[in-house]
């Protein structure tokens, strides 16, 4: 019964989404107040029904209703409850429903929190969101229905892929989608502005907090995915440049550029054309990611089992939304000239360089990801573009970006006022050079140019970011949240760069074969295999090793229990690594195979400062939270409502 209710809820949601679109856009175009008045309730209603449908699917999983095909394919009666819920988004149909629900919830939030926007504009924003929702709901109903029944019902289900039976990975899709679907709001604001012909500083100020919130969720979602891959997949990697990973990283890069570009548009009315395009392209890249993962066009472990029909439908949706928006852009772009001026080393310049470099980075990743596909279609053969290419090529825009960031954080609007900061900047540079040299010697006893450059940039960025609020506090000046948020986020960037540089440059890894009682040495730590036994979990059996790690002085540092699990239903082997974590390093042990005669293979790894990578990313997200709650976004609403106009740039 629940599945049928869910199905009906989806159909009702589709009707409401269509209403949202029609009443919103036509009402605003004609100025019909009673039509516009329907838009907000329609949006909230749509959100309610999609959420209801989602809850119906969750209830089918919780109740082990294997007569629902999707539940039978992805769940099992032995699956722990948490993972029965996570299984809802474990495959294509359910994750698409999650996508639709998150879009609907964002739209609902815009409906409820946009009282301070002029009614016509708000209706246009909701109208555009309604078109997107309607497209996605239609896609679900016609090609990817999670509620279809399978009769006779199987006795038990296929079980959730064991790789997905993990708390971090359970949270990863909802958080990631909240991020990349959230950019639809910026997209809708941009489309509404283009339709109205209003592309001023006010539009930028309205868009900014929504964009920052979406961005911070995306940052967190990507970080969770990276952290999960590191501890779950067993070989200590944290970013594989897999096409689907790239598909989430490109909107992140474009989103970062967007946030920064919005700053210049909000403050000085500049770069309106760029900001507009970035708003359109960020969500387009999100949609592109959705397409790549679900159309079967690209080979990836992340890809959902796919169907060319679904691919064609999504491509159709992409073409409608993106080409539609870009056509609007072509019609409006000519009207966006501003007459603001600025000097070479002003904040506007730095933001320009930032935009250019981030867009180059996103373009290079896009090129690398799509290149093999394009060559194959042109019948020029099959090639691979993998981590060695991406790692190298990504550094080309990123190194200048970090260098400019160190100085740019201190820049002032319109004028180049760097001279008074020279003393502070010189201090930062000197301190960073010393720290870079010291760290190099500490970890490796020698220095390598690229590593030194990376360390210098990372540390200088962190110091530079901290110096801004520190300096204001020292002079007893108030520090607005926007500035604190910026400082925290940039500090996070530096910390991330520190973790990435040190972990990549100074890690070590050894594959060894040990019998019980034997040990091996990696990076000065002694790893001794002391025990091997069988253990049982809720839906698996595992072989568990005990490894005792001692440091160079013989003190025991950690006792780890890596496992090799076999999940009962799907019967595939899975490695659960044992990891010892401290602020300075991770020690990582993964269990391999039984080589006979009591000898086992193990992979031992030493990963210095790797935690800073994820911690840095979390600081970035924290900076976003702080910046998004800046007073001016909350009080601006009051000013708008009283009719006070904001002076505009021509």
């Amino acid at each position: 019964m629940n599945a049928e209710l869910g199905q009906i809820a989806l159909i009702l949601a589709l009707c409401l989404a269509v209403s949202q679109a029609v009443f919103g856009l036509v009402g605003a175009a004609r100025g019909w107040g009673n039509w516009m008045a329907v838009t907000r309730p329609a949006t909230v209603g749509q959100a309610g029904f999609v959420a209801l449908a989602f809850l119906m699917l969750v209830s089918a999983f919780l109740a082990n209703d294997f007569s629902v095909q999707y539940v039978a394919t992805n769940s099992n009666s032995q699956l722990p409850t948490l993972y029965r819920v996570a299984a809802v988004w474990g495959a294509h149909e359910g994750s698409m429903l999650l996508w639709a629900m998150i879009l609907a919830l964002w739209s609902g939030a815009v409906a409820l929190l946009s009282r301070s926007l002029p009614q016509g504009f708000a209706c246009r924003v909701l109208g555009v969101l309604g078109i997107i929702s309607a497209g996605i709901l239609l896609f679900i109903l016609l090609t990817s229905n999670p509620f279809s029944r399978i009769l006779p019902a199987p006795f038990d289900g296929n079980d959730l892929n064991p790789l997905l039976q993990d708390p971090a990975l359970a949270m990863h899709p909802p958080i990631l989608y909240t991020g990349y679907v959230g950019f639809a709001v910026a997209f809708a604001f941009a489309c509404a502005a283009m339709i109205e012909g209003r592309l001023d500083q006010t539009w930028a100020r309205w868009t900014r907090p929504w964009t920052i919130v979406a961005w911070l969720f995306l940052t967190t979602g990507i970080t969770l995915g990276s952290w999960w891959a590191y501890y779950e997949l067993g070989w200590g990697g944290w970013w594989m440049w897999d096409p689907v990973e790239n598909a989430s990283f490109m909107p992140w890069l474009a989103g970062t550029a967007l946030i920064h570009s919005l700053a210049a548009t909000e403050k000085r009315g500049l770069y309106r054309s760029w900001t507009l395009l970035l708003a359109l392209f960020t969500f387009s890249l999100s949609l592109l990611g959705t397409f790549l993962v679900r159309s079967g066009i690209i080979v990836s472990v992340h890809a959902f089992a796919s169907d060319p029909l679904r691919g064609v439908f999504i491509l159709g949706l992409l073409a409608t939304f993106i080409l539609g928006a870009l056509t609007l852009y072509a019609m409006r772009a000519g009207q966006l000239r501003s007459s603001a001026g600025f000097e070479l080393w002003s904040r506007e310049s730095f933001l320009l360089f930032n935009n250019v470099l981030l867009i180059i980075a996103a373009s290079l990743i896009l090129l690398g990801t799509l290149y093999p596909l394009l060559l194959a279609l042109l019948e020029l053969g099959t090639i691979s573009v993998g981590p060695p290419y991406f790692q190298l090529v990504f550094l080309v825009p990123v190194i200048p970006l970090l260098g400019l960031l160190i100085v740019g954080m201190h820049s002032a609007w319109k004028r180049a006022r760097i001279a008074p900061l020279k003393q502070r900047l010189v201090g930062i540079v000197v301190a960073a050079v010393i720290a870079a040299v010291l760290l190099s010697l500490l970890f490796a006893g020698r220095m390598r140019t690229m590593v030194l450059v990376g360390l210098f940039l990372a540390i200088a960025t962190m110091l530079s970011a901290l110096s801004i609020p520190f300096d204001s506090l020292r002079r007893r000046l108030p520090v607005p949240r926007g500035v604190v948020g910026m400082a925290v986020a940039h500090f996070g960037v530096g910390m991330f760069a520190l973790g990435a540089t040190v972990a990549s440059a100074y890690q070590s890894e050894r594959d060894v074969s040990l019998a019980i009682g034997q040990s091996a040495n990696v990076a000065g730590y002694d790893f001794k295999l002391t025990d091997m036994r069988m253990v049982e979990g809720p839906n698996y059996v595992a072989r568990e090793a005990e490894v005792i790690i001692s440091d160079a002085k013989g003190r025991v540092v950690a006792t780890l229990h890596p496992q090799k699990r076999t999940y009962r239903v799907q019967q595939n082997p899975m490695t659960e690594a044992g990891i010892d974590v401290t602020w300075q390093r991770d020690l990582f042990v993964a269990l391999g195979d039984n080589l006979g005669e009591g000898v086992w293979s193990l992979r031992l790894q030493y990963k210095p400062l790797i935690r800073y990578l994820w911690l840095g990313a979390l600081f970035m997200a924290l900076g976003g939270i702080i910046a998004a709650t800046d007073r001016r976004y909350r009080t601006a609403g009051a000013r708008e409502a009283t009719g006070e106009t904001v002076p505009e740039r021509a």
């Binding site: 790789l163 070989w235 403050k267 079967g296 080979v299 472990v301 089992a305 007459s339 603001a340 001026g341 600025f342 000097e343 070479l344 310049s349 320009l352 360089f353 250019v356 470099l357 180059i360 373009s363 290079l364 090129l367 290149y371 053969g381 099959t382 090639i383 691979s384 573009v385 993998g386 981590p387 060695p388 290419y389 090529v393 080309v396 825009p397 002032a412 609007w413 319109k414 204001s472 000046l477 520090v479 607005p480 926007g482 948020g485 910026m486 594959d511 595939n572 082997p573 899975m574 490695t575 993964a590 269990l591 391999g592 195979d593 293979s601 193990l602 992979r603 910046a627 800046d630 740039r649």
Partner: protein
């Protein structure tokens, strides 16, 4: 075709969950061992396509690692090892695309984009600096760092 895709895809999912650990003793010459380790991290596993030969658990990957090891022990250069593999599997087996007629765009792109971006930035800044004298906007006083 669909059946093939599903069979291969099923193989992909199962195999990626287990870990590949080299059980051979390291090559006696540490330079050769270092080259071996670097190479297997750059070569693609042809069954578990998202993994390198170093990390993939499937038997084809183990066989290919054995061949790479054999060639290095015989004194072949990195280029010769790669040529051995590309003669059999094509450029697909290299995660670092080679520089040739088909791929020059990939390798020149960073430089070209940087140049193009630099040009655009230069033109914009040049135009805007000329507008400074005529720009009479008063900006908010106080802490204008955001």
């Amino acid at each position: 075709m669909n059946a093939v895709v599903r069979v291969l895809a099923a193989g992909l999912l199962v195999a990626t969950t287990a870990l590949a650990i080299d059980t051979e003793p390291p090559l006696p010459d540490p330079d050769q061992q270092a080259r071996y380790e670097a190479l297997i991290h750059e070569l693609r596993c042809l069954q578990c396509r998202s993994q390198t030969l170093a990390d993939s658990d499937v038997s084809l990957a183990a066989d290919l690692r054995r061949e790479v090891r054999r060639l290095i022990a015989e004194g072949r250069s990195d280029a010769e090892v790669k040529a051995f593999l590309t003669a059999r599997y094509g450029d697909y087996v290299l995660f670092r695309p080679p520089l040739n007629q088909r791929t020059w765009i990939l390798w020149l792109a960073p430089g070209l984009l940087l140049l193009g971006g630099g040009l655009i930035a230069w033109r914009v800044v040049r135009h805007r600096t000329t507008l400074v004298p005529t720009d009479t906007e008063e900006l908010d006083a106080g802490n204008d760092r955001s």
